[in-house]
Assembly symmetry: C2
Homo-oligomer: 585 residues x 2
């Protein structure tokens, strides 16, 4: 198996030519002082190197060995601690963190590409740093100055890690039912008691301390509040003190991500600190969850890219059968990439992965503008972040599983064998469709809140901006432009129909949400392909330009029609879904 | 987790009312003397019982423990040997075997339902018996009387098992390259030397002997011949003698099916016996492979049914959130089955599973008529078996994975945990899309050989018979009948277009085959739903009739449009798949 190689040419092209990072960054002073394209390229080159040399080598061994829970300790697989220490020392955990507290202050638009490389190289490893960065983001946004100064430097440096503690056995998608209690103490802190399940990176041996962000209820309140609860207490000097009564009940045995610890966490009179306002914990947690939602989408994207590389390499090496109409080289056997069905599978993965990367970069860009921008530009970017985040989470993770399964099929029988490695991608990425809110929940958030919550205003704004942009493209095929433009407008029409229907038929949002999100994703990818193939025309490498045109044509011809299927599904409504009585299921 | 319960009402309904087994069996004297509906019902009731009580209990423990290769022995998980002995003694291995050699002579139309139950209960266990039955079928069809008398009784009784030894490292989908050699010996037998990989049930501790059907080449021949090679030699009295130099090199570590042994087999001057004519081994092997193809489709179907039951039970029990528009019971939380997206997922699995069972029963019926019938009825059934077998293998196994993944999604985070059991279904059924010829190969066989090989004659005959049958339905919705009828005719049109194009564009078959098979499958399932909902009208249980109508309406409304998508894909041709040079992948 060839080692992982980041698609650096594609990444630089997206940043520089498709989404014009230099112009974006120039408009954001807080970013401009930290990064330009040269710095960004140097960071990507280095991220490629550590992904290949540091992370990928522990991917399969970590899967075989798994995390172990022994004598109240959670032990990660061989090589994880050494790799994490080196990764943290390289500044990768704090890449997009606040410079004031030791972060590198890099834009998310660049961070998403670094995240993708890390997820391609090793899904399980990357979660530890991702949870830490997400927790730090939440503390930075909502925590007191005291909490920020005490915790953020140690988290950005990777010396302490972070975790997000929401789920309880009876409270998963529906957090109203959480029972963990927070009782105020005289010193302004709180006593936290309760249990949480499914806590990714809840405990492990990679860092000295784990900083938990825990949802709990105050006495006599149904509101939910957010608390910072360190595993080990931190004194005023920042030194580690005694245990904070935060213990691991057990670790889960999972389908995949076996090197990522998933813990049952118990708090027994643990000391916690309120983050944000009392009873407003979900709002604060959403800062972290939105970050994690994008990150989990990128987990799917990284998997897609890794799956493509493995399958394409195999298809060029594995010799079996002869091309239809005779071998192009006159050989008695050809590499299987000559076969139409194998090419179809590879092209499917490739076009969805490259367009997925565009979605990731665009979402990163909008996050940067929403965070560092001003005025109407900032407000609009915030709306777009709201719109794009659930799509990035769900559509990228759904495509991640599709990609892994399709790539596995290219390998034939060898794809089912553990040593080949492709089946691990299927098992590792499967959870991305579930955690941080299932993809069904993402779709309901998208259609119910983001699209129809403002009577289709943000969607219309976004779609019209895409339409206007398409009109400026000088190299794209006119029929393709017309097709994507028409589908973009259909999104608005169908969304408006749902918006009109939803009061009378409240079930329609829930029943049709997944199809609407899938329709949106497929149209958006068509838009991205026209952007990319148009921008590639002026690329110095003519083969690169030709390749993007082939891929764009394939996408428009073969994948875009899925958008029409999904739109028709939304229009078909909720009746045949809702009519059958529960007893007949 | 509730124990597995076979869907006996649906199974009996399909046999008795939809495909009129009594009439079919009455027309086949060899079957009629062995079975009537009462016998069939008694067999199904018993199969349900052993599936639940004997097979399902070893499903998860077998996955956890796996097969072990130790001191040249392959050891199955705890409980497998006891279960297999009891299963064999119950006559289940020889259920459809020849009565002359100890089989029970049951029709395949019934056998497919028994197979489905066993696969629902335990994928890995069921393969051992399935391979044995397939090998026995091949020996019965092509072996000498001496071989039949010596081997079949011990195989039908389950005392010896069977295996199919085709693949070598350099020869998978393309068997031309096999290197295993067969040298004629003076006594008319052959000396077999070589290695095979991926041999399901190649060795294990369930039976005293394993009867291998091995593909090998005679000296100075490029033709492929088929040989019966026992693991342990059998003397003229039928007693076991010395080792036949058939050894296990290693066992594979796989994504799933961990309780099924997958072996590297080595033959070192092993004694083998020619089956069928020299250099005509593939023709003989196809008898077994066609049997196994249907069986593997049924593996997917059984998985779908098990996945549905688990997910539906969970959705009725798990309480989370409130129904859109308010709880129907006024509760503060409802079971998740109230949510449209959860219902959508369950309905998806259910309609594909019930229509899949119809495909399985129809294919079984045609196999019976092809084997036991006469004249034109027999010839037509043979054509239909050719047409339906690749579809049953590919479409049922593809839907099996979809069902398992969708059901896993219903479980949310719990679906990713091994203890829940649903993730095992995903891992176990994934291989069904690959082995016995990948689903891409099935599709190419379907479109290239079965559909366009006779210039669309068999497809046209089959489709017109479906169309005529639809016209006789008195209870089905007229618009639904018109829709399915139109799509059936479109299948002929699109197939004819491909047939016209294929000489000029030989790549079109390979590139468009999967979409054509998927289009055919989705249209066929629409036809089945109209048949089923129509037949259910006269069912004694009015809720059963109502349920079939709800499901039929859902299928036509929500799933049938996929057929149009896939047909459009076929019409979009192969250009965007074939144009991009290999170097740009």
């Amino acid at each position: 198996m060839n080692p992982y190689q980041a698609p650096l040419a594609e990444m630089k092209f997206l940043l520089d030519k498709v989404f014009d990072a230099p112009q974006t960054w120039a408009s954001l002073p807080a970013i401009a002082e930290n990064v330009d394209m040269d710095t960004a390229v140097a960071i990507m080159d280095e991220a490629d190197k550590i992904s290949r040399e540091l992370l990928h080598p522990i991917n399969r061994s970590g899967d075989e060995q798994g995390v172990v829970h022994q004598d109240d300790k959670v032990i990660t697989p061989d090589g994880y601690k050494e790799a994490y220490t080196q990764y943290a020392e390289g500044g990768w955990v704090g890449l997009c963190g606040e410079p004031e507290f030791g972060g590198m202050g890099m834009p998310k638009m660049l961070g998403v590409l670094v995240d993708e490389m890390a997820y391609s190289a090793c899904n399980a490893f990357t979660l530890y740093g991702s949870l830490t960065a997400g927790a730090a983001l939440c503390i930075n946004a909502h925590g007191s100055d005291e909490l920020k100064q005490k915790y953020l430097p140690m988290m950005y440096s990777g010396e302490w890690s972070g975790a997000m503690d929401m789920t309880e056995p009876q409270a998963g998608s529906d957090l109203r039912g959480i029972r963990t209690k927070a009782v105020p103490l005289d010193d302004g802190s709180y006593s936290i008691t309760g249990s949480k399940i499914f806590i990714t990176a809840g405990d492990h041996d990679l860092t000295e301390n784990v900083i938990h962000l825990v949802l709990a209820k105050l006495p006599d309140s149904n509101g939910i509040s957010l608390f910072l609860v360190p595993k080990i207490k931190v004194d005023d000097s920042g030194a580690l003190g005694e245990s904070n009564h935060v213990t691991v009940g057990s670790i889960e045995h999972k389908m995949g991500l076996k090197a990522s610890s998933t813990c049952v966490m118990n708090y027994d009179d643990a000391q916690g600190y309120l983050i944000g306002r009392a009873n407003r914990g979900l709002v604060c947690m959403f800062t972290m969850m939105n970050y994690e939602r994008l990150a989990i989408g990128i987990q799917g994207l990284g998997t897609s890219q890794a799956a493509y590389q493995m399958a394409a390499d195999y298809a060029k090496e594995r010799v079996q059968g002869v091309a239809a109409g005779g071998s192009p080289t006159g050989a008695t056997s050809d590499p299987i990439i000559v076969h139409g069905d194998v090419r179809r599978m590879l092209l499917n993965i490739r076009v969805l992965t490259e367009a997925g990367r565009a979605l990731s970069v665009l979402t990163g860009q909008q996050l940067d503008i929403a965070k560092y921008g001003e005025g109407e530009a900032q407000a609009k970017a915030s709306r777009y972040v709201g719109l794009l985040t659930p799509v990035a989470k769900a559509f990228l993770s759904d495509r991640g599983l599709d990609a892994a399964i399709t790539a596995q099929q290219v390998f034939g029988g060898h794809g089912y064998i553990r040593e080949t490695g492709i089946e691990q991608l299927v098992r590792d990425t499967r959870i991305a469709q579930i955690y941080e809110g299932t993809n069904g929940i993402q779709a309901i958030d998208f259609l119910g809140r983001k699209v129809t919550g403002d009577k289709v205003a943000a969607l219309t704004e976004f779609v019209n901006e895409c339409t206007a942009k398409l009109a400026t493209l000088s190299h794209a095929d006119a029929a393709h432009k017309a097709k994507v433009t028409d589908l973009l407008q259909q999104l608005i029409l169908v969304a408006s129909e749902i918006n009109d229907k939803k009061l009378e038929k409240p079930a329609v949002i829930n029943a049709c949400a997944v199809d609407f999100l899938d329709a949106f994703g497929h149209v958006l990818y068509g838009y991205f392909w026209l952007l990319m193939s148009d921008a590639a025309v002026s690329h110095a490498d003519k083969e690169f330009a030709a390749q993007k045109r082939y891929l764009s044509d394939f996408y428009i011809n073969k994948m875009l029609p899925k958008a029409e299927y999904h739109l028709a599904q939304v229009r078909a409504g909720d009746e045949t879904i809702m009519n059958m009585p529960e007893s007949l299921f």
